[in-house]
């Protein structure tokens, strides 16, 4: 009995166990999930160690030049701090390491958002009107209206009315209503996409069954 066949049976059984959730929450489903979480976590840890910590930190610290060693002393120290977060009493020591991650992440996110999304997307919204075709122009108007009113929808500024109720400005309210229509259309499109993805996963699992039993 080959290893592939054994793992094939395991995959088949795990698929069945997870599908059993359609009947209701049950023991088999739980066991499958816990096995999955354990294996996935163990695999992630192995990947993190073998493909990140070992080649990028430990190996250079042992075999690298003195410059490398000095440079890597900082992440080594911060990694040690980070490990302190496992123990609640020493978790505060991990704050500097988390601060480096948060600070660098924020800077990269800001730069990416500005250069990769804000300017290009705003520019594209305007540039769409350059098309001479009437249908393209109509589409450009629809897109512009959608962008503006979707952004208005997420504007939550309000004022207190005379009767004490808190209401948005009248124009904002109208714009938000239009924006909600566009958002509903977008979410409907996304919903169709999610269902398509889930359906394809269902079909793939059925194909696996078919392959396992020699069907189809």
């Amino acid at each position: 009995m080959s290893l592939d066949f054994i793992f094939g049976i395991i995959a088949f059984l795990l698929t069945l166990m997870v599908f059993s959730y359609l009947i209701g929450d049950n023991l088999f489903f739980r066991i499958a999930i816990y096995i999955f979480v354990g294996v996935a976590a163990g695999y992630v840890a192995a990947v993190a160690f073998r493909q990140v910590i070992l080649p990028d930190l430990l190996t250079p610290l042992v075999y690298g030049s003195s410059t490398e060693k000095i440079t890597l002393a900082v992440p080594l120290l911060l990694s040690g701090f980070l490990l302190m977060k496992i123990i609640p009493s020493t978790s505060r020591i991990g704050a500097p390491a988390m601060a480096v991650l948060a600070g660098v992440g924020a800077a990269v996110a800001v730069g990416g958002a500005v250069t990769g999304t804000l300017f290009p997307q705003i520019g594209a919204t305007v540039d769409a009107f350059a098309s001479p075709a009437a249908f393209q122009f109509v589409n450009a108007v629809i897109v512009l209206v959608g962008v503006v009113f979707t952004l208005i929808y997420f504007h939550f500024g309000a004022r207190t009315a005379s009767d004490g109720s808190v209401r948005r400005f009248g124009l904002i309210e109208i714009g938000a209503f239009v924006g909600s229509i566009f958002i509903a259309i977008t979410l409907g499109t996304l919903f169709a996409g999610v269902y398509s993805a889930a359906l394809t996963a269902f079909i793939e699992r059925l194909h696996f069954f078919g392959t396992f039993f020699g069907l189809g």
Binding site: V47, S79, L82, G179, S180, A201
Partner: protein, 203 residues
């Protein structure tokens, strides 16, 4: 420790941000980025160790469901040991991924198909407003326009309505959402860089 954390966050963040515009700072920026990448790997390890810690505690205290925790720990430690010894790139480790992680995750995704149909059916009973109707109508339109029939395509639906909805109506909303996300990212990032927000526990 808090002050150190704030100083580190602001300093490293600003150095990286300035590196976008001043090429001479690129080496420093690259070094800091490398630190952050190594720290991310360490953070993944910390997360896994925390999982071990928590479930070990459950087992030692014989809490309810500790049997599941035992299963989880056995699988985790076995995978970790084999992964360390063989390397995650080993063919046996890939077999493990293909026969445990892939089937479970893919089947969970497959369950979503049933759940989504069920939720859609129930939607109008719970919330029958204009937004729900538009949402559901769009979803139905795109679903039927994505399929073909045994005798062929559904002409205008496949060739006109679906592309038009996706490239005009849905695109407007999607672009608005993307710009909104970018603006939110910008504001949140700047607040972290200026020390107003301290998600690293520096409050």
């Amino acid at each position: 420790m808090r002050a150190i954390a704030v100083v580190l966050a602001v300093a490293t963040g600003l150095l990286v941000l300035i590196g976008y515009f001043i090429p001479t700072l690129a080496p420093i920026q690259s070094m800091i980025l490398n630190w952050a990448i190594i720290l991310s790997g360490a953070a993944a390890l910390v997360g896994v160790f925390n999982l071990i810690w928590v479930h070990w505690g459950k087992i030692s205290r014989r809490e309810k469901g500790s049997l599941y925790s035992a299963i989880l720990l056995i699988c985790l430690i076995a995978t970790l040991i084999f992964g360390m010894l063989l390397g995650p790139d080993d063919s046996n480790m890939r077999l493990l991924v293909n026969s445990i992680i892939v089937p479970v995750e893919a089947t969970l995704m497959a369950l979503l198909a049933v759940t989504l149909v069920y939720a859609s059916i129930r939607l109008l009973r719970r919330r029958a407003n204009l937004m729900s109707v538009v949402f559901l109508a769009t979803a139905l339109l795109l679903l039927i326009a994505s399929a073909t029939l045994p005798f062929g395509e559904i002409g205008p639906l496949n060739n006109f309505v679906r592309p038009w909805f996706q490239h005009a109506w849905a695109l407007g909303g999607a672009r608005g959402i993307l710009i909104g996300v970018a603006l939110g990212t910008l504001m949140t990032g700047l607040r972290v860089l200026f020390g107003a927000d301290r998600p690293y526990g520096g409050k």
